[in-house]
């Protein structure tokens, strides 16, 4: 079998970094078995930062290696990786350029044709998984008869996370190997849970691998394992799961996890993966692999997958590179941080700063008791980390000692960076910054965590307005990866560079925005929510309004999100944006009534833990007589998003459409198959209906 002709890369695709497969004989005699092992090494010749991957040429190379290994008539064949890396799966860079279904089908089939030889030849095969093995990388191993794993290696099948299925044998072989429950865990639950990878001990206990060895002599131990299997002194039992009673419940668990992840929407990738897992109960290898090929081709040739790949690459790229950031060298050294406020938000900030910057962090509040409470919260969180064994006692002691609190703002003397997280009231913040200027040095950065107020207005009247910057985190601060860095017209490069340098140390992905009301995430979310509440206030039944977006796959409905944010905060933001951006930001009388009545959530849990409308909230709905259909609600909400995004680009709030997508992916948790949001608006024709043009050229985040 040679590389099928239709696997030539389409125009524009990057040259494949070929993973070579090198065969070398290993004498098993010293390991107690008379015979030779043909050892195949996968190595693309690059260091560990560019893992081995499988494109068409790499598959052909492996195919050739298997042929030459078989030709040497060995006692066994084993496959291993380069240092620290086994293989990271399919070459995704090529995937985004496939433009014909036959081509996509061919690469899936070619992968199967090559890999399955390892499971179907009459020579025992072993995978010595010496390092990272993801997706197709782990699947190569699953085709082998036996697997060993390095104790420090991570493995997993992230396909469903990416919008694919483990389609090179994984979806069929894994359920047969470890049973439905564990396969659902690996293929569905891990992937849907932010792409959780398995540690070696997890892979061993799940039965994905047969033995785990320390990296110092992993290869020698693995060869020894192979010899002991060949000689019969080690016996590996395999179970037949075809009559396992857990198939239905396992599939239901997987289905529930997918529905939860996508707010009740049925999304193609998890659905197809579940179908393949279900089929694995009775499917032959061939019929299973054929079904995988079809699923892979369907998904690959779909816009959601292209949007997903775009989103994945965007997140990877922007984690390192902040668009529009000044040179890092312009930033100033930060050795002491001040946090104004000691409430929950401020305390979360103090914890984040002290954990990552490991420098003194001083907190202030209006009285000593409040300041003490904030410090105590930070210390208690550190203690929890020790309890969970995620931090040593020594580190926690060190960090605890770095946090202090006071009612006297003179403790900010000597700070290099002070961030405020006080009540969202412009005059208060202006007054605060003026006072702080009398305490801190002229170079100390003054940052605000405001979500919707004007940063520029806060800097008015200051001696050094150039050191003021917006530093907008998302709740919960420790988990949400996005940080919006807002520059005013006066913010200088040294200040921005300092802020970005800190953001990097805090391990946040940053987007630099203009100082515009609501920056990016809140501006879009509030506009979007406003359309839903407005539809309800006009007379659309709340369940219709709130469920209008379900099928798209947002992680939660607008009203569920409202419960999380709190109606008070949401109302405040919409009032601010209404004032600063205009009446298209609706102020909902229902929301006002809810805040007035002190009702915090639109949904409450019923006896069974399901969500039902809160009768107290329903009571307060100010309902007109104009009811819309779900279709109408969805259309107006999406149209509003497209309008607002276009305005933001026209105003220069961010540099590119990609920044908007990045913000929605990381700040709002919007799903990858929407590409954030703009690729979805493009493919639904909404962008063009609104402004006559798309946000992204065809092929960037969609099929070409």
């Amino acid at each position: 079998m040679s590389t099928p002709a239709d696997l030539t890369l389409p125009e524009g695709a990057p040259e494949e970094v070929i993973t070579h497969a090198i065969v070398r004989p290993v004498d098993l005699t010293p390991f107690g078995f008379k015979g030779t092992l043909a050892l195949i090494t996968l190595d693309n010749g690059q260091d560990h930062t560019r893992p081995n991957t499988f494109g068409a040429k790499s598959l052909a190379a492996l195919n050739e290696a298997i042929t030459s290994a078989i030709a040497s008539a060995p006692a066994a064949i084993a496959i291993t990786g380069k240092p620290f890396i086994f293989a990271a799966g399919a070459d995704l860079s090529a995937l985004a350029f496939l433009n014909k279904r036959e081509q996509s089908l061919a690469i899936g089939k070619f992968g199967h044709d090559v890999f399955r030889r390892l499971g179907e030849i009459d020579i025992p095969t072993f995978a010595f998984i010496n390092g990272l093995a993801l997706g197709g990388g782990l699947e190569v191993g699953l085709h082998c008869n036996y697997r060993t794993l390095s104790s420090t290696a991570f493995t997993g099948l992230p396909e469903v996370f990416l919008g694919l299925v483990p389609g090179w044998g994984g979806a069929t072989l894994l359920p047969k190997l470890i049973g439905p429950e564990k396969a659902v865990q690996v293929i569905m639950l891990n992937a849907l849970n932010n792409n959780t990878m398995m540690k070696a001990k997890d892979a061993l206990s799940l039965g994905v691998v047969d033995a785990v060895y320390e990296p110092a002599d992993f290869l020698e131990k693995s060869v020894s394992f192979a010899a002991s299997v060949l000689s019969g002194s080690t016996k590996i039992e395999r179970k037949d799961f075809s009559n396992d009673p857990a198939w239905d419940s396992a599939l239901a668990t997987g289905r529930a996890a997918a529905l939860k992840k996508y707010g009740g929407a049925e999304i193609a990738a998890p659905t197809r993966a579940l179908e393949l897992i279900a089929a694995a109960k009775t499917a032959t290898r061939s019929s299973g692999f054929d079904a995988e090929d079809q699923a892979l081709a369907d998904l690959t040739m779909s816009d959601p997958l292209r949007a997903s790949l775009y989103a994945f690459n965007l997140i990877q790229k922007k984690r390192k590179k902040v668009e529009g950031a000044p040179k890092p060298a312009l930033g100033r050294k930060v050795a002491k941080v001040g946090v104004v406020g000691a409430g929950l938000m401020a305390s979360q900030l103090a914890l984040l700063f002290v954990r990552n910057l490991k420098c003194p962090v001083v907190m202030t509040d209006i009285d000593q008791a409040r300041a003490d409470k904030g410090v105590a919260w930070v210390r208690a969180e550190l203690a929890k980390l020790v309890e969970k064994r995620r931090m040593s006692q020594e580190s926690a002691d060190r960090l605890s000692a770095l946090v202090s609190g006071s009612a006297d703002q003179s403790v900010f003397t000597g700070c290099d960076f002070v961030i405020e997280a006080i009540f969202e009231e412009l005059s208060l913040k202006q007054e605060l910054f003026k006072k702080l200027e009398t305490i801190i040095s002229p170079e100390c950065v003054l940052a605000t965590n405001t979500s919707s107020l004007s940063v520029e207005a806060m800097s008015e009247g200051l001696k050094n307005p150039e050191r003021v910057v917006g530093f907008h985190f998302f709740n919960p601060v420790a988990i949400m990866p996005l940080l919006e860095v807002a520059r005013t017209t006066k913010t200088d490069d040294a200040t921005t560079a300092t802020a970005v340098n800190i953001g990097k140390e805090l391990k946040k992905t940053m987007v630099i925005t203009k100082d515009a009301p609501g920056f990016v995430v809140n501006r879009l979310l509030t506009r979007f929510m406003g359309e839903i509440t407005d539809a309800m206030d006009e007379g659309t039944p709340p369940e219709i309004a709130d469920n209008a977006m379900r099928s798209i796959g947002f992680p939660m409905s607008p009203f569920e999100l409202l419960g999380l944010v709190g109606p008070g905060v949401a109302l405040h933001v919409s009032e601010t944006l209404n004032k600063n951006l205009g009446p298209r930001y609706k102020i909902s009388p229902t929301m006002q009534a809810m805040v007035k009545a002190g009702i915090r959530t639109f949904y409450i849990k019923d006896d069974k833990g399901g969500l039902i409308a809160n009768p107290e909230a329903v009571e307060l709905i100010v309902s007109g007589d104009k009811s819309s259909t779900a279709e109408q609600v969805r259309s107006r909400a999406l149209t509003a998003l497209a309008e607002e995004a276009r305005m933001m680009l026209d105003e220069g709030v961010v540099a590119t459409p990609a920044e908007i997508d990045l913000c929605m992916l990381l700040g709002a948790g919007w799903p990858m198959h929407l590409g954030g949001i703009l690729p979805y608006l493009d493919r639904e024709g909404i962008s063009e209906a609104v402004s006559g043009k798309r946000f992204h050229q065809p092929g960037i985040a969609s099929l070409p």
Binding site: R24, D27, P30, F31, L39, T80, A216, F218
Partner: protein, 396 residues
Amino acid sequence: MSRSVVLVDAVRTPFGKAGSLYAGTRADDLIVRAMRGLLERNPKIAPTDIDDVAIAAATQSGDQGMNIGRSATLLAGLPNSVPGYSIDRWCAGALTAMTTIAGSIAMGAYDVGIAGGVEHMGNHPMGEGIDPNPRYLAEKIVEQDALAMGNTAERLHDRFPAITKERADRYALGSQEKTAKAYAEGKIQKDLIPTATRSPELGWGVATIDEPPRPGTTMEALAALKTPFRPAGRVTAGNAAGLNDGATVSLLASEDFAKAKGLSIKARLVTFAFAGVEPEVMGYGPVPATEKALKKAGLTIADIGLFEINEAFAVQVLAFLDHFGIADDDPRVNPVGGAIAVGHPLASSGVRLALNLARGFEEHPEVRYGITTMCIGLGMGGTIIWENPHFTKGAK
């Protein structure tokens, strides 16, 4: 308060030609692999029992630097509580690691220790980074020849004209033949720890045998080799050890500790000595070192039933044999061959001699005493006298 010190066990990696078998393998990975192999086959020793780890390397930089003794201890996964240090006496590094650990055990400070050596001559060519003081030559402290080992071997030929090139070649041939025979009988493989190798071109492999031996060598082939150190010289690549990569490691303990833990006892250390000679004829070092050690032990050369002498150069072995009146092909000398065949990764060779001698003791319960001896650059020799724990009185 001297205590009896015993060799519990010793192992090594297969040796490679410099920059060949282990071209893509680090020196510290070699010594780590040997250490893990040694501990794995001695499960009665708890890693926490190990009082110290002494590892030798002749060049202590790069992957043989960072205090290779401590570094290897950490990389081998020994508990943090186990300390380690580095040793350098050029070729006699591992031999000195053994005497130093043994000395600490004998004086009662330690119960058990690890002594070994590593040299990756592919990564660290001989003479790497050396900076000889100009006084050496200006003040004639040494002659130029003293600084190149091949020249010192030629100088030894000059001193002992009876040791001809033909004799040296014949000795070398014998070394190759003895090694080939020992391999065929499976004797050498017993103490080799299979070791992963990797090169970007060849991928991963596992070394299970020495790479340097040239079975099938002939006198004709040896005679045809060039004499790179001088025109019409006698020293060739065939009658000298090559440039090699490898690691060795041994476990030494007080006899009381070994017995209490039920450990194997492969040899009992009697005494040792180091001695200096003119640097220009460093290959003569084993002679005074052995004389000195014998005297300390109250033994004579006639008491020694097995000799493990490092074959840096054939001439240096022959000078030793001539001095003690031993035949070139005496079966007591290097019975499984030596460095001319299997290689000489400088600082690692001392332990290889000890592990060969221990196997010889097993085979020859009639022998009571054996020695390991080697020459050392800049004019030295080192000798350890060992007693055979399997010795049966009454046998010859």
